[in-house]
């Protein structure tokens, strides 16, 4: 008997849960000022998520999922991608979308149940959030195929949760991306929970990153609450993709500190002590501790930032709340490039309010 394949999965961390370096930081992080934009973006995301939940609780927004506890992943992904790259998100990535240039007003419109919220003014080629699990992985492979066919130095980046790695679409997509050597990066935001199902029930694999091995592509694990590690690993993956060296799977380890969505009550299925334990590792305090240790961040900065984030979020809320509802005829707009004649009477009935005519 001989061994025909071996693999190992790297785990990268630069800042421990207290925000202390565990090894020399990479070049981009040598100047701690360079990390402040990530901190600001994470705080904005947390402020937005909290406001979205509050709006839902007061009947002013539909069901929405918060990224509380995993803000670092989306923030880094959205910030480090080039503008001309294409992002294909799942539904818990407000931070990444905001960093990509999707406005908070657009996000609130979408989560209030208004399709116009997905007509992003900024990143015109980014996909809308994918509600069905892991389907966006296949779409990302198709996007990446087109980018490669046209020889454009652009990358498709898709994000998914740990639950998505159990789906066929996930495996099929890694496999196709590998066989065609496509410019695509798959980022798993492993927050340990797929609604009520913990990571341990999701898969017997030691890591989710190793699922890349069977597809013949690089897979690595990173501390998903460590902005420095995330940027370090994601930079390399983007670089590989952009220079024609193919896809990468990144498993970013984090923890969902809140309910799955506003329609969920996580107290029904998980131990509050487990949640408390993970509060000690969350990404926002971790980076703040580091910045404070480096003496580039202080109480005044913090207060000013919080006030600024509150103001920006409130401005988006005001704009969102002032949005007139779509007219009923909008159900037929953009259904086809040109509405088929057979549907004209239904559209007219809907437009006049007599939808069931």
């Amino acid at each position: 008997m001989s061994v025909v394949a071996r693999f190992e999965i790297r785990h990268t961390q630069f800042l421990n849960h207290l925000g202390e370096p565990t090894q020399p930081l990479p070049d981009f992080a040598r100047d701690p000022d360079n990390l402040i934009p990530y901190y600001r973006a994470m705080v904005l995301t947390r402020t937005y998520d909290a406001k979205a939940v509050a709006l839902q609780r007061t009947g002013q927004l539909g069901t929405v999922g918060s990224s509380l506890g995993q803000e670092a992943i989306g923030t880094v992904v959205g910030s480090v991608m080039q503008r001309e790259d294409v992002f294909l998100p799942t539904y818990r990535e407000a931070g990444a979308q905001i960093a990509r240039g999707v406005t908070m007003t657009e996000l609130l419109r979408y989560w209030s149940g208004d399709e116009r919220g997905s007509d992003y003014r900024g990143p015109r080629q980014d996909f809308p959030v994918c509600i069905t699990i892991a389907a966006q992985c296949a779409h990302a492979v198709g996007v990446a195929y087109a980018l490669k066919l046209r020889k454009e130095p652009r990358v498709a980046v898709t994000m998914m949760g740990d639950g998505a790695t159990s789906k066929g679409d996930f495996y099929e997509s890694l496999n196709m991306a590998g066989t065609w050597h496509l410019p695509v990066v798959f980022v798993i935001a492993n927050n340990q929970w797929a609604i009520s199902v913990p990571r341990s029930v999701q898969s017997a694999a030691e890591t989710l990153a190793q699922k890349a091995v069977a597809a013949g592509i690089p897979g690595e694990q990173v501390d998903g609450n460590d902005v420095v590690a995330l940027r370090y690993v994601f930079d390399q993956a983007l670089q590989r993709a952009r220079s024609g060296d193919g896809p990468t799977l990144i498993e970013a380890l984090s923890y969902r500190l809140t309910d799955h969505t506003t329609a969920d009550d996580a107290r029904r299925y998980r131990d509050p002590e487990d949640v408390s334990r993970h509060w000690a590792m969350e990404p926002v305090a971790r980076l703040r501790n580091y910045l404070v240790l480096q003496k580039v961040w202080g109480k005044d900065d913090e207060e000013k930032l919080i006030a600024e984030c509150n103001e920006r979020v409130q401005a988006a809320v005001n704009e969102y709340l002032a949005t007139p509802p779509p007219p009923p005829g909008a159900m037929f707009e953009h259904l086809y490039a040109t509405l088929p004649a057979a549907l004209a009477w239904q559209r007219d009935a809907a437009a006049s309010g007599k939808i069931h005519g």
Binding site: L88, T132, G168
Partner: protein, 326 residues
């Protein structure tokens, strides 16, 4: 002008459109070196190269899924699902994403893809190779569902499907692939989508059908004509969106309607047509609408397939029944 089969017409349309439009590509299982298991993509790999004639890994869901990503980026993917019974994993992407990408982004992203698959029974194929799947897709807003019945229609409708800015499910009747030849002019001219075609004029009864069943319908109409019964024959061609005005106009003239399809009866697309006639043309009917359809059983393996397929006798009998009513 050459006489060619339906599958050759598919090939001709694909090759011509790939030549004219560099954004068109084909993908699927065995579409490259093998030229497709039915040879619909024969010769395309040599002409257009492996970047545009893509042998995919064996994964139907993702064949549909990646087509959506390609289409959103402005390519025009023509994906082949090898057999209709294998299309179900692709339904998720077609129903949840392809059909609604334009709508949910207010036209920012679009999905000009074609999903081709052979469909229907009657060629003694193994299990899962003989399904009639048109109704699954015809129920989905945002899609077009097209089934050609002849080489010329296959050529013109496939060109139209590829050029259409929205997703089109293009169902190719396997039984008709090599059933007969027809002169097809490779002139690059598309046929209109969203319209029914009048295959034969008549005044006594309207027979509405699509796909391979048109073959039996035409024979039935000819036999009826020998008896002096003039049946009008309509090839629906595009099931969604459905051109009811053409059907209603014919029924208003004949007062009788027989709908013929190879898919099983309950919830088949014939029910939609019959319901629309009841809603909009009831008073022009001189007899109840009749359906000739496959029974509500699993598509049998080849030993019993013959009994499953609607045949000429059944069609003739159904037309007679409408004539004998009251």
């Amino acid at each position: 002008m050459a006489e060619i089969t339906l599958v050759e017409a598919v090939n001709l349309a694909l090759a011509g459109e790939m030549e004219r439009d560099p954004s068109v590509l084909v993908l699927g299982e065995d579409v490259g070196a093998d030229g497709g298991v039915f040879r619909a993509t024969l010769g395309l790999l040599g002409r257009f190269g492996k970047e545009r004639v893509i042998d995919t890994p064996l994964a139907e869901a993702s064949i549909a899924g990646i087509s959506i990503g390609m289409a959103a980026q402005g390519l025009k993917p023509v994906a082949e699902i090898q057999f209709s019974g294998f299309v179900y994993p692709a339904l998720d992407h077609i129903v949840n994403h392809a059909s609604r990408l334009r709508h949910r982004t207010c036209g920012r992203l679009t999905c000009p893809m074609v999903l081709r698959t052979p469909c229907g029974a009657g060629i003694h194929a193994p299990e899962h190779h003989s399904e009639s799947v048109e109704t699954f897709f015809a129920h989905v807003p945002g899609l077009r569902v097209v089934i050609p019945s002849s080489p010329a229609r296959a050529y013109g409708l496939l060109l139209a499907a590829i050029r259409d800015p929205d997703p089109v499910i293009f169902l190719e009747p396997t039984r008709a692939y090599r059933l007969f030849k027809q002169e097809v002019d490779d002139n690059g001219q598309a046929l209109p989508l969203d319209v029914c075609f009048l295959n034969r004029e008549g005044s006594d009864a309207t027979i509405v059908s699509w796909g391979a069943m048109l073959h039996e319908v035409q024979i039935a109409a000819a036999r009826l004509a020998d008896e002096g019964i003039m049946a009008e024959v309509i090839d629906v061609a595009t099931l969604k969106p459905l051109d009811m005005p053409t059907i209603l106009e014919s029924v208003a003239k004949t007062g009788r309607c027989v709908i013929v399809h190879e898919a099983s009866r309950t919830g088949g697309f014939g029910a939609e047509i019959a319901a629309s006639i009841a809603e909009h043309g009831l008073l022009s009917l001189l007899a109840p609408v009749q359906r000739v359809a496959a029974p509500d059983c699993v598509v049998p393996l080849p030993k019993l397939e013959h009994y499953f397929m609607p045949d000429v006798d059944q069609i003739v009998a159904a037309v007679r029944k409408t004539l004998e009513f009251a």
